[in-house]
Amino acid sequence: MGHFLDAAIRDDVLYLIRLSRSLELPGYATEIGIDVIRLGDYSPGNALFCYLPTLAERIWLSISGVVASDCCCIFVRGLMPGWHTFDVVSSGDLTKQILIRGGMLKWESILPKEVKQSYVVYVEPGRTAYLVDVDTAFIYLVASFCLFMYFLFKLATIRPYDD
């Protein structure tokens, strides 16, 4: 990257001048790096981030590692346009913790243990980015329930042979 030396903004372009390296030639020389950066529209955007967990855990949501919220939706205003990381932080499987402890846990004492899911989301200038997801286990549970109900329905509608 090199040391920052100077910068200049002309119209929509930022010129960044940096000291790339010093060269020990016969004599002394300096390599200067000049970056041409097209400036964009930095109108802040918003983000709505929802995550539906399974029942056996407590989750927190964070955007770019700075904003945290308890389950299950978070709406953040004034995000800089660009890529942001949305994280789902989990307490881990509470069933195991209950079994290990041998009793119920206090809700307040359950702490974040692991990043369960990470998403990289692009926030457009002045617009709202939406991200909604559910735990895979939750999908399996719903699918199992639907399948069970389907078989139950089929069972109820099967007619025996009329011999």
Binding site: M1, L5, T30, E31, I34, V36, I37, Y42, P44
Partner: protein, 288 residues
């Protein structure tokens, strides 16, 4: 939208990984000697190398071709390039060149200009229309107003000296000179010929020597935008008129604007390579 919200709503803009503010291209040029100053006009970059007696100005195209070079007398301190004209500020002189480095004029300053810090800092000269403003120091401190085409001296303002080592100009659209003095920040609005002193949260000790003016904690950066003043001091950006401020991680190296946003360049430690990001703050009065 309240100004406080505007400041608080700003977040770090990661230029190099975000979809906006991508580096379009990078050019590397090698110049003999030590870096003194650089300025860019369109697709030409001018690099001033610093010598003790003389300095050389190199013109490079942004695709890396050397277009020419020229000598100036004295250590080159600063340059300013716009619309095919190049101004080079040396220790005691100001030079005017055209795009092809043909000298169009030169003049001796009333005072002297100290070397700039190797890491940017606010400029000693600004161009507004056909007037070139130069803040010079020495035994007495002046703002010189010169004709931008001929370098003829049009006006001169004597600045309150106190124990301010030097004066510089705020970036942005006004003509505001400022100096860091023991009793605070002294701001001189050249267009309104008014000055005021603001206490700084910290008292930087600045001293001048041949290597330029250095201040503990870095030289504060001032920005003038639409008649409003913003001060970046240490890691805090303050809208002076409203006393609204926001702290950022690291010291602010650079403060500038394109009329819509305020851009700043933070770093985590003095002389660290700044993070590959600039921060954008939305201008409180919207687009210009």
């Amino acid at each position: 939208m309240t100004p406080l919200y505007v400041l608080v709503a700003a977040a770090l803009l990661v230029v190099f990984v975000s979809g906006v503010g991508l580096v379009e291209r990078s050019t590397y040029v090698v110049v003999p000697g030590f870096y003194g100053a650089a300025c860019i006009d369109g697709d030409v970059a001018y690099i001033v190398t610093k010598g003790s007696d003389n300095s050389i100005v190199y013109a490079w195209s942004l695709n890396g071709t050397l277009l020419g070079r020229v000598w100036v007398y004295g250590p080159g301190v600063e340059c300013l390039a716009t619309e095919g004209r190049l101004y080079v500020l040396a220790h005691r002189d100001i030079y005017l060149f055209d795009r092809d480095l043909r000298q169009l004029g030169a003049a001796e300053l009333k005072g002297v200009v100290f070397n700039r810090s190797p890491f940017a800092g606010s400029p000693h000269m600004v161009l507004r229309g056909d007037r070139l403003y130069i803040a010079s120091g020495g035994d007495e401190l002046f703002v010189e107003v010169r004709d931008a085409n001929t370098l003829r001296l049009l006006d001169i303002y004597k600045l309150p000296k106190g124990r301010c080592p030097e004066w510089r100009f705020a970036r942005g659209d006004g003509v505001v000179a400022y100096g860091v003095c023991p009793d605070g920040l002294v701001i001189f609005d050249v267009e309104r010929t008014s000055n005021k002193t603001l206490p700084l949260d910290y008292a930087p000790t600045c001293h001048a020597d041949l290597g330029g003016v250095t201040c503990s904690g870095g030289y504060p950066q001032l920005l003038s935008l639409g008649g409003r003043l913003y001060l970046a001091s240490g890691s805090t950006l303050t809208w002076l008129d409203k006393n609204v401020s926001r702290a950022f991680p690291g010291r602010i190296y650079y403060l500038d604007t394109d009329g819509r946003y305020i851009y700043m360049w933070p770093t985590t430690r003095w002389q660290d390579s700044p993070r590959s990001s600039t921060s954008g703050l939305r201008s409180p009065w919207g687009t210009s």
